[in-house]
């Protein structure tokens, strides 16, 4: 019942706020109320899930034996909590950003946001691959208007790359992978222990893993990562929520879900042996590109590509500790990256600066913003007291447990690279003299949002019980 409410609430909100087109404050209030309500609903389900319950909702069957079904399990609950919680924060931020920058089509923006969250909840709660695929594709479609929000040629081109890559990858690889799973396993339900155990082996198994890994294009494994930087044409709140939280998280969430519930942790490791190499390459290559990128959002985008592959790498190791690390990283990266994007948007709104080289001295003019940026950077690098440290700890432990020294080396190297492209920004902001005209912080709603998420990042380090409990019950 509550499960149905979780799905319907954002959709109803989208419809309602479309009607409030002419009354912006009412429209924003509807958004906020829906987000708060959604978070409350999702949170209320967490107790039951932690106790071992699996609330389910089965709607009709599309094909014989293939219903649209929702089953809550710990990983899905965590994703849903992140999505709904950060939705609320994003609305607060977006209000400041859209009004501060005089953006048009604000109703379309908030409505598509709501629908995107609905799709993300659908992905989070999916009980079988068909339902996951349904909402996964819906998410791509619903975020396209957000990516092409500005409506100009650049937006159109970015939208084409975004849509083209994501739909191509899911249609060419994910759909056949699903069909093959159905044909081999007879079911598409997510089952603890997997459904493909013993049904496929050797080269065919590796091929199936590849179909899934590249078919879930939202996880941005190279070479299918180009949609992420292309989507940076969108307004920053879109980048923040969707490309730090909803869309990319749906991608890596799906990968972890497939690894744990379709293949199972006891699956033949040889089929996964190639994946850490691809993920490792993505981590390092994306970090190198980030190092050389001057555009701040581009740097953050490639940082995201790199961080997502942490999750894929950890999942591919098939070790219980690394799975916990992967699940935790979904949460840790979300709060950390959203802080970074919020800060980037604040810098743009207040100072109209988009390049890293222009950020000198802004730390002293916008102390809150850059302090938050610093915390987000710490989380990316994986240093205490930020959330990224906790997830990295588990990923390293998992790599040691699996005796995968290459993974260990990649994690170490990328930590250094992360420091290399984040710390200089913080240094420049605080320790170099500023140029240009004087300005203050961004509008207060934006600053409040980014301070809150930075605080969350720190809080997740100190009070990691809930995410840890959820992640632990996976493995």
């Amino acid at each position: 019942m509550i499960v149905a409410l979780c799905l319907l609430l954002p959709v109803a909100a989208a419809a309602w706020l479309a009607l409030c087109h002419r009354r912006p404050n009412l429209r924003e209030a509807v958004s906020l109320a829906a987000a708060a309500g959604l978070f409350a609903c999702v949170a209320s389900l967490s107790g039951e899930v932690l106790r071992g319950g699996r609330p389910a909702l089965v709607l009709g069957e599309i094909f014989p034996g293939l219903p649209v079904a929702f089953v809550l399990e710990p990983l899905g609950l965590m994703f849903a909590l992140i999505a709904s919680g950060l939705w609320f924060v994003s609305i607060v931020y977006s209000i400041g950003y859209l009004r501060g920058n005089g953006e048009r089509h604000q109703t379309r923006f908030f409505a598509c946001f709501a629908l995107a969250i609905a799709a993300a909840i659908g992905v989070a709660f999916a009980g079988n691959l068909l339902t996951l695929y349904l909402f996964y594709e819906a998410l791509t479609l619903v975020t396209w208007p957000l990516v092409t929000h500005h409506g100009d040629d650049a937006a159109r081109r970015g939208g084409r790359v975004y849509l083209g890559l994501l739909v191509a990858s899911s249609m060419l690889f994910l759909l056949p992978a699903m069909a093959i799973t159905w044909w081999l396993g007879g079911t598409l339900d997510f089952t603890p222990g997997g459904i493909l155990g013993g049904k496929v082996s050797g080269g065919a198994a590796a091929g199936l893993v590849a179909l899934y890994a590249f078919g879930i294009g939202k996880a941005a494994l190279m070479p299918l990562h180009r949609w992420l930087p292309a989507a940076m044409v969108a307004p920053t709140p879109v980048s923040a929520l969707l490309h730090a939280v909803a869309v990319v998280k749906a991608g890596v969430f799906s990968i972890v879900k497939v690894v744990v519930y379709v293949f199972g942790l006891d699956f033949e490791p040889a089929a996964f042996a190639w994946l850490p190499w691809v993920a490792g390459f993505t981590i390092l290559a994306a970090s190198v590109v980030a190092l050389r990128a001057d555009n701040l959002k581009r740097r953050l985008a490639y940082s995201t590509v790199s961080q997502l592959s942490y999750v894929v790498l950890a999942a591919a190791l098939l070790a219980p500790l690394s799975i916990v690390g992967a699940a935790l990283h979904i949460a840790a990266h979300a709060v950390g990256k959203i802080t970074l994007f919020f800060a980037a948007g604040a810098v743009y709104t207040a100072a109209r600066k988009t390049l890293v080289s222009e950020l000198d001295g802004l730390g002293r003019r916008m102390p809150w913003t850059f302090a938050a940026f610093g915390i987000g950077a710490l989380s990316m690098i994986g240093l205490p007291p930020a959330a990224g440290f906790v997830s990295k700890w588990f990923m390293v432990s998992g790599a040691i447990e699996a005796q995968h020294w290459m993974a260990l080396a990649v994690i170490a190297a990328s930590t250094l690279l992360n420091a290399g492209y984040f710390l200089p920004i913080v240094y420049r902001a605080f320790f170099r003299p500023a140029g240009g005209e004087m300005h203050g912080e961004a509008p207060w709603t934006m600053v409040a949002a980014l301070v809150f998420t930075a605080a969350l990042t720190v809080a997740m380090f100190f009070w990691a019980d809930l995410p840890l409990a959820l992640a632990r019950s996976l493995a």
Binding site: G60, I62, P64, Y133, A138, A155, R156, M171, L172, A179
Partner: protein
């Protein structure tokens, strides 16, 4: 009354046509057409439910027993086709009022309705008859009516398009009748069930093989099997909107049905598929259609022609099931008869609304510019139907694709899976051209006022687009019906 349902199914539209011509009133014409279309839908639904409960229905016309008399035979497959055709008709008929009023000269409008009724009668007759030559008669009734429907288009290119279609279509029908003639010479009967029995004994004789070839090519011309598709893009592009919508959704489908009927019921499927390279030929041609026609669609400027090429590609999906020849594949094919019908029907109905507001001339990408602001509901309907064309989950098109992919996997035909995925991808390219034009381009200033299509037209188009989504989730009608039909066909293959 109820035992005469099979005859009523055809007689109602057949009688409506001359009545419309005699009455000469456009009002009466539209009313009669709409009533008849709904009546046909009720008939078809009743027949389908009786078949689902009690098995195939056999009806002897004029009480002359088969095989000497003409038999109407309704089984799971023909019931499915009857429902698909009459469902489309019941959406197009109310739509027609404003559409025909805008596109046809006033003193010819009632004639268009008459032709539409004749076409409907012909198509329904093709689906329901159990006699080979009777099928030819209905085939020609529907074809001649459709040539006229197309020729009534506003622009003069419609005339030449109709002429070309007429030439190729008549050649196709002639080939079909040559095939039937050869079969008759060998077996001495025209009744499908009787033919099936007698052909079992003489399957490998050369005249039978020749008959198979003639019938395949003949019907292939009718349903635009690649490479016999040349007439379709022009015919659909220049026909009046209502004609395009109706023909795109039904005419080719019923012709494929005829092929299915011959391949699985009349001819011996075991001989056909084991001893002849039928599977390979159909797989090759289907994949060629799916890929080449989709690519051709991407480069079209005229939007109606773009979707006409898309229809050629979608026919490839339908014939793919014949090439796969298994339960999943055939289920996919047969369900696509309905799924594509509602998808393409919705698209052409909505495009007709756009054409009406745009005035005379082709509907090009420029006409679609800014459609999202000018006609938001129409644009939304086009997007939904376009998603079904691509085959995204939650739409009818996905249902088809799923079954075809599973069918291909069961056959181990990996390249077919790749082809299905690739053609869907190309469909994204051409559908997204339309979406981008509608939402990301500004309308040219004079046309920028917001004005939706007339209510009747808009409602029909949106309802059909809604069906695309409905059949994507509630698959009891399209999937279960197709499943039963496929099982029936394959039983003959045992």
């Amino acid at each position: 009354m109820l035992e005469h349902l099979p005859a009523l199914q055809v007689v109602l539209p057949l009688v409506a046509a001359p009545l419309i011509v005699l009455a000469r009133s456009t009002r009466f014409a539209w009313l009669a057409t709409t009533v008849v279309s709904y009546a046909c839908l009720v008939c078809a639904a009743l027949l389908a439910s009786r078949v689902a409960d009690g098995g195939a229905i056999s009806y002897a016309l004029g009480n002359w027993p088969p095989p000497w008399g003409i038999e109407y035979r309704v089984d799971a497959l023909s019931a499915f086709v009857l429902v698909a055709v009459s469902l489309t008709a019941s959406f197009v008929a109310p739509y027609a009022q404003r559409s025909i009023a805008a596109e046809i000269e006033p003193d010819r409008q009632y004639l268009m309705y008459a032709m539409y009724c004749l076409c409907l009668a012909g198509l329904l007759g093709m689906a329901i008859t159990g006699d080979a030559f009777n099928l030819f008669v209905f085939l020609e009734i529907s074809s001649l009516a459709s040539y006229v429907l197309i020729a009534l288009g506003r622009r003069r290119q419609a005339l030449f398009a109709a002429y070309q279609y007429m030439l190729l279509g008549t050649v196709g029908a002639t080939f079909y009748v040559i095939g039937v003639g050869l079969l008759y010479l060998v077996t001495g009967t025209l009744n499908f069930a009787d033919l099936a029995e007698r052909l079992r004994m003489v399957q490998d004789l050369r005249p039978v093989l020749a008959a198979l070839a003639f019938i395949t090519v003949g019907m292939g011309l009718k349903f635009a099997l690649f490479p016999l598709h040349q007439w379709l893009p022009n015919a659909y592009a220049f026909a009046p909107s209502m004609a395009t919508a109706f023909l795109a959704a039904t005419a080719t489908k019923v012709s494929v049905y005829v092929l299915l009927r011959y391949y699985f019921t009349v001819f011996d499927p075991a001989a056909l598929f084991e001893r002849l390279p039928t599977r390979e030929i159909f797989l090759l041609l289907s994949v060629a259609a799916m890929v080449v026609a989709s690519l051709a669609a991407v480069y079209q400027r005229d939007v109606k022609r773009l979707f006409a090429w898309s229809s050629v590609a979608q026919v490839g999906y339908i014939t793919l099931g014949i090439g796969l020849e298994n339960q999943a594949g055939l289920t996919g094919s047969i369900t696509h008869l309905l799924n594509h019908g509602v998808t393409k029907g919705a698209i052409f109905l909505l495009l007709g609304g756009v054409a009406l507001r745009a005035g005379a001339g082709a509907v090009t990408m420029e006409t679609l510019a800014g459609l999202g602001r000018r006609m938001p509901l129409t644009a939304l309907g086009l997007v939904v139907a376009g998603l079904s064309l691509i085959g995204l989950p939650g739409t009818a098109g996905f249902v088809t694709k799923w079954y075809l992919i599973v069918g291909a996997l069961e056959r181990g035909a990996w390249w077919v899976v790749a082809a299905i995925a690739a053609s869907s991808l190309i469909a994204v390219a051409y559908v997204w051209r339309v979406v981008e034009a509608a939402y990301l381009r500004e309308a040219p200033a004079p046309a920028a006022a917001r004005r939706e299509a007339p209510a009747g037209m808009l409602a029909a188009g949106l309802a059909m687009a809604g069906l695309c989504v409905y059949f994507g989730f509630f698959t009891s009608i399209n999937v279960e019906g197709a499943h039963a039909a496929a099982a029936l066909l394959l039983r003959g293959a045992q």
